[in-house]
């Protein structure tokens, strides 16, 4: 037992306590397993890694499943049964699973059958992303917590992996508290240790450590997720090594290397988590910057911000924005020629300050109001054709405007504009319309 644990601890850094705890809970050989174990911690804190390693070392028959996949419980039951019984759906058995299984009763029955036919081995079910189980049938979580109880003499354990703490799982009835193990976030030093593990053999430890520290110093504030950091470390290493390959610097010249890499790192800060460009494309873009620095901004904006809308659609979108962000009572003031003079009172100014609609967000508006504003802001005479109406539904499908309730005219659907001020400003500029002048917050 000790040997197993020490082996594991060596392979999986910074998770000593968790490995110890898990291994001792599971025990060796014929030990009875606990009912259920609950592991929680953010993604990339080693839950899956630790669990699978421990279970494998202890020789427990295991079924790993991810709960995202289970759009029906049936899929879950059958997948688990397949894993435990070793059935692989293939052309030979016409892609059928071990057994068709629709409810929890059958599931337990089949589990027992499998266990008996295999000579009652120690079995475990590992459920990843188990927070998803809360959305499926009501009784599943309690049943899974008590699976050992229900299957009577089978030595089986259910291990939940989740990124939410146990408090979010407790159900009203029949919930049995599992053993909880927490996987805390890695500290900065631990991250360095772990990232150091994937050091390429061509570079020395010291050099690579420096590199990791540099990357962490930039990204640590933005993200602490190991996967993302790994990605960034991988992405920039080549550029970091470039001066070395050119012979401009040696491994100890940290300052020079830093100066070389700093702008690139800062730039990619803005796109942490956004894998907008694959690494290959990223590299290509980098090359582009080197050759023509002015071109790059153009290239990027061409990639992200180009959207051509038909002429009337632009105005419809602007009208939708105005309808969303202006209070309906002010329409008179903005869109009528002779609205009469308005006296500013102290109370009004205060009221305006209190409710900045830009902060509150868009408000729903009816279709009639949208069209009224549309006809008043567009200069030329537009006949109300079916094309205009179809453009509104196009805007809805493009998610630039969202529809709230009501699928047909009778229900008088309401809409909300879902674009930002910057966006609408760009659109307005294209049709040379001064949108800010019509906005209540700015006018």
């Amino acid at each position: 037992m000790d040997k197993i644990v020490s082996d594991l601890v060596e392979n999986i850094p910074c998770r000593k306590a968790q490995i110890h705890l898990l291994a001792s809970l599971l025990g060796e050989d014929e030990c009875p397993l606990p009912n259920s174990i609950f592991l929680y911690g953010h993604s990339g804190t080693g839950k899956t890694l630790v669990t699978s390693a421990v279970l494998e070392k202890l020789g427990i028959l295991t079924s790993y499943v991810s709960c995202v996949e289970f759009y029906t419980t049936r899929v879950m039951y059958e997948t688990i049964l397949n894993h435990l019984s070793g059935t692989v759906p293939s052309s030979i058995n016409n892609y059928s699973s071990y057994a068709s299984c629709d409810n929890i009763g059958e599931f337990i029955k089949h589990l027992r059958n499998i266990a008996y036919s295999k000579g009652k081995p120690r079995m475990s079910i590992v459920l990843e992303q188990s927070e998803r189980l809360r959305d499926s049938d009501a009784n599943i979580l309690p049943v899974l917590c008590r699976l050992q109880e229900l299957t009577q003499d089978i030595n089986i354990i259910v291990i939940f992996l989740s990124s939410l703490p146990i408090e979010k799982f407790r159900a009203a009835t029949g919930f049995m508290e599992p053993v909880v193990i927490n996987f805390p976030q890695y500290t900065k030093d631990e991250l360095v240790d772990i990232l150091l593990k994937q050091r390429p053999s061509s570079h020395s430890v010291e050099f690579y450590k420096n590199y990791i520290k540099l990357v962490l110093s930039v990204f640590y504030l933005a993200t602490k997720g190991l996967p993302e950091l790994k990605h960034q470390v991988q992405l920039h290493f080549k550029a970091y090594c470039e001066p070395l390959e050119k012979g401009e610097a040696d491994e100890h010249d940290i300052r020079l290397l830093w100066r070389n890499i700093e702008p690139q790192l800062k730039k990619s800060m803005s796109s942490v988590y956004l894998r907008e460009v694959s690494s290959a494309q990223y590299e290509r873009m980098q090359q582009l910057t080197e050759t023509a620095p002015t071109d790059q901004s153009h290239f990027k904006s061409a990639l992200t911000n180009k959207m051509e809308l038909p002429y009337y659609t632009k105005f419809l979108l602007i009208a939708a924005y105005l309808a969303s962000y202006n209070p309906a009572r002010t329409d008179r003031r903005f869109f009528m020629k002779h609205h009469g003079k308005q006296r500013k009172t102290q109370a009004m100014i205060k009221a305006k300050e209190r409710s900045s609609s830009q902060l509150v967000g868009p408000k729903p508006f009816p279709l009639d109001r949208l069209l009224a504003i549309f006809y008043s802001i567009i200069d030329d005479k537009v006949t109300p054709t079916a094309n205009i109406f179809s453009q509104i539904s196009t805007l809805v499908t493009l998610r630039l405007v969202t529809q709230i309730g009501g699928n047909d005219q009778l229900d008088s659907p309401k809409y909300k504009c879902a674009v930002t001020l910057d966006f609408i400003r760009n659109v307005a500029r294209m049709v040379s319309f001064d949108v800010v002048r019509y906005l209540y917050d700015y006018a």
Binding site: E69, N94, Y95, S278, L303, Y311, Y312, T397, L398, L410
Partner: protein, 849 residues
């Protein structure tokens, strides 16, 4: 179609499989409003021919316009998997993360929804042809829940329902019960697929070493292959043959999976019994309609030994022929596809699973999330590649995905050509084409362009409008029978009947042409058939030439004016074309403005423009002597422009000398006067360049004046040009509100009944429908309408005889009719109930009588 059911439910009927096209054609012809049978047929035939030409052109365009981006995309998909593994090994960094990133192509398609279908259709065709047979095309309307999305994706990937041809649903791939489908099944299925491919490769590698074995095996396969061929001669027998694999159709479909294993075995161990081989060949034959990879590869596995030994190539060819003849019941396209599939290169044994999401924006977010998460979970076993069709911007995808999901995909953006670009091509190739006899006039063209630019940016709709124009032209224009491709024209003109000749003679443009002729010819034209026919032919040919020349000059005008500040004539060819089609260019305000600016142009600017114009003209020089003349003159002037350098300098010197002289005077007033004088002098005496410039411009303007006349000045333009926007507008631009008001205020317009005929539109007649009466009465009211008064008015209109004094008793029937009319008005959005006053409704529209 009808049912015997008494319920009000909606019933769906399956389309009959009868030849739809023929049916449609005959019905369209029925609507052709033409008295003369012969003329009708003629113009219908012309229409079909014309449209066929246009479709051919469009088809070529469709594939070529996106060629570049598709090429990139296919390249990306092909290499997606490879890149992944190379990257991992290159950096020496063993990373699970890199493996979990699903390569994703983000295809930005633009906001023109109707066009997307065509884009993705051609993309799928391209991918299926060269990259991978495993393609799933998901559409947001089918994917409201994760379950349906997954089901759709997996079935399509496994090839359960044919993507290309939905009409005859051929099941390919294994048949799996709907509820069995999940990712595990997909994984194992894919593994088997790749296993077969690698096995096949290995076996072909082994072939050299185990020559003997293959020969041995070959003998057996020969038998195996020949026997099904016999069986094919009588396909019924083949199905009924005693081999067990035939049992049920369901099994037959599933059988390729089984056979997959057996040929492999056969190659490895040639001692296997002949029967097993036979089974292996026979069963794919049964499931032949399926173009499935694994199946065809099993055939190839059998066929390949023949090649090495070179024994009998015929034998090898025979199975594929047999396959074709056997699958005769399938569509011909499918057969071609099948043979293509067989010849697919199989060097890459990890064919990617391409999942195309046509409209990412409208997918429910949770479905998209889970779909991506699940796929990334299985990414190490299944090489997924996503293609996102994004209508807005790639940023929209990120905005809708949470960070842990968007970390699962590695996105690369591809920008499809904007639809305006496509439209330009369409205009260039179709509208300005010299092949298609039909041409569109200024007004309808402007209408179509307006719909495009103002409303939808959709080329598909533009083409639809064009088709409608064409249809209208051939349907309603009796002279359209002459509008045929130029080579046929002679025979058509020769075969003209006197009645048809009369139609042509009645055309206004022809009449004015006759009137402009000398009197002698006039009589001949009107009376003698032969002369008239010859003239018509000549005029039509001339019209063709004129249009070619016209299009060329439009391009010249565009080249000349597009670079001017603010581009008074527009920056696109299409804008110039609209102006030229309907107005005399030289007389338009815009051109005058452009002319003014051109006359101030510097030499450096003018030179490239003139060179450009010459470049345009040179293509047309052989066709028209006017253009030839223009081209020659312009080239001469270009030469002079180029050799101006020295002259210019001389002029400059003289001016500066003058300046120096003038500056001598010290008095301010004098100086000013002198400067003014110099300025005047300078104005009076243009230098060499300026005179040359005005010469060039004059030349061009003369040409424009002479050749760029609007269409309706040309004789016989009615035959080839369609120039009525109102007719098309009615069909293309729906106006629900206007239609509603017309229907209510003048029901006769739609009902075409005797009773509702009104002289004055505002008058109220009892024979009108109730809604119409109620509507007209409500127009007279203010913001709030008293229901009781309204009812009284309604009754007095509908039953004028009834005595108004007997107000107490209102006919129940009348009241019910009124209530219905009011609620219909409410439904149409004219009134709504209000709480402000009891027994009142609020009016929602303004204006009225």
């Amino acid at each position: 179609m009808a049912t015997v059911s008494v319920s009000k439910g909606v019933f769906s009927f399956k389309r009959s499989k009868a030849n739809k096209r023929k049916e449609a054609a005959s019905t369209t012809l029925d609507y052709w409003t033409e008295c003369d049978e012969d003329t009708r047929d003629r113009s219908y035939k012309n229409y079909v021919k014309c449209w066929q030409m246009v479709t051919n052109i469009l088809h070529d365009l469709q594939s070529s316009v996106h060629a570049k981006v598709f090429e990139d995309l296919v390249h990306f998909i092909k290499n997606a998997r490879k890149n992944c593994s190379i990257k991992a090994s290159e950096n020496h960094i063993e990373s699970m993360q890199g493996q979990n990133d699903i390569p994703t192509a983000c295809l930005v398609t633009g906001v023109n929804m109707p066009d997307h279908e065509a884009i993705f259709e051609s993309l799928v065709r391209l991918l299926a042809d060269g990259v991978t047979p495993h393609i799933a095309q998901l559409h947001s309307r089918d994917c409201n829940t994760l379950r349906s999305a997954m089901h759709k994706m997996i079935t399509q990937l496994m090839g359960q329902n044919d993507l290309v041809d939905l009409d005859d649903e051929v099941m390919i791939g294994p048949s799996i019960k709907r509820r069995q489908i999940n990712m595990t099944v997909l994984t194992s299925w894919y593994k088997e697929c790749t296993d077969v491919l690698t096995q096949e490769k290995n076996s072909s590698k082994l072939r050299g070493s185990t020559q003997k074995a293959t020969i041995l095996c070959n003998d057996e396969t020969c038998k195996a292959v020949t026997s099904p061929r016999k069986a094919v001669a009588s396909p019924r027998k083949a199905v009924a043959s005693p081999h067990k694999a035939v049992a049920s159709p369901r099994k037959a479909v599933a059988s390729p999976r089984k056979t997959v294993a057996s040929p492999r075995k056969a190659v490895a161990s040639p001692h296997k019994a002949v029967t097993s081989q036979f089974k292996a060949v026979a069963s794919p034959l049964k499931a032949m309609a399926s173009p499935h990879k694994a199946m065809s590869s099993s055939l190839m596995a059998i066929a390949s030994p023949h090649k090495t030994v070179g024994s009998s190539c015929k034998e090898m060819g025979s199975p594929s022929i047999a396959m074709k003849s056997f699958s005769n019941n399938g569509s011909p396209q499918k057969k071609i596809k099948l043979s293509k599939e067989t010849s697919l290169p199989t060097e890459d044994d990890h064919q990617p699973l391409v999942v195309i999401l046509e409209d990412v924006e409208s997918f429910p977010m949770n479905v998209l999330h889970d779909l991506i998460l699940i796929c990334s979970e299985h990414h190490c076993d299944l090489p997924f590649v996503f293609v996102f069709g994004v209508a807005t911007t790639p940023a929209a995808v990120h905005r809708s995905l949470s960070q842990n999901v968007s970390a699962c995909i590695a996105m690369e953006t591809f920008q499809a050509e904007p639809s305006t670009h496509f439209l330009n091509h369409v205009i260039e190739k179709v509208v300005m084409s010299d092949e298609v006899p039909f041409h569109i006039g200024g007004r309808p063209f402007k209408l179509l362009l307006d719909i495009f630019l103002y409303n939808d940016l959709s080329v598909k709709n533009f083409i639809k409008g064009l088709k409608l124009c064409m249809m209208q032209h051939f349907m309603n224009n009796s002279s359209a029978f002459l509008c045929c491709p130029a080579p046929e024209r002679a025979s058509v003109v020769r075969a003209m009947t006197p009645a048809q000749l009369d139609i042509i003679r009645k055309l206004p443009s022809f009449r004015s042409y006759v009137e402009s002729c000398p009197p002698k010819e006039q009589a001949a034209l009107l009376l003698e058939e032969k002369v008239c026919k010859a003239t018509i032919r000549r005029l039509l040919n001339k019209l063709d030439c004129w249009y070619d020349c016209f299009c060329c000059l439009v391009k010249v005008v565009h080249a000349l004016t597009s670079s001017l500040p603010q581009a008074p004539l527009g920056r696109q060819v299409r804008e110039v074309l609209t102006t030229c089609l309907s107005h005399e260019l030289v007389e338009t305000e815009e051109f005058k403005e452009a002319d003014k600016m051109l006359r101030l142009m510097a030499r450096e600017e003018l030179l490239p423009i003139v060179t450009n114009i010459i470049g345009i003209l040179i293509e047309w020089v052989e066709k028209d002597e006017n253009l030839l003349h223009l081209h020659d003159e312009l080239s001469l002037m270009l030469g002079r422009l180029n050799s101006l350098d020295q002259l210019d300098q001389v002029n400059d010197n003289s001016i500066t000398e003058e300046m120096q002289i003038s500056i001598q005077s010290s008095d301010r007033f004098h100086l000013k006067e002198k400067l003014l004088e110099i300025a005047k002098k300078k104005y009076k005496k243009p230098n060499a360049y300026e005179s040359l410039r005005s010469e060039v411009l004059q030349l061009l303007i003369n040409a424009f004046e002479q050749l760029l006349k609007p269409v309706n000045k040309q004789p016989l333009h009615e035959v080839l040009f369609f120039d009525s926007s109102s007719m098309v507008k009615r069909h293309l631009v729906g106006m629900p509100r206007a239609a509603l008001t017309t229907a209510l205020s003048n029901p006769h317009h739609y009902l075409q009944c005797e009773c509702c005929q009104l002289e004055d539109l505002s008058s109220v007649v009892p024979t009108l429908p109730d809604v119409s009466v109620a509507y007209k009465l409500h127009l007279e009211c203010g913001r709030l309408i008293n229901l009781y008064d309204w009812l009284q008015a309604f009754i007095s209109v509908t039953e004028p005889e009834e005595d108004t004094s007997s107000k107490r008793t209102i006919d129940q029937k009348l009241q019910a009719r009124f209530a219905q009319a009011v609620s219909e008005l409410q439904f149409l959005g004219f009134v709504k109930p209000t709480r402000r006053k009891t027994d009142h409704v609020a009016r929602l529209t303004w204006g009225g009588c």
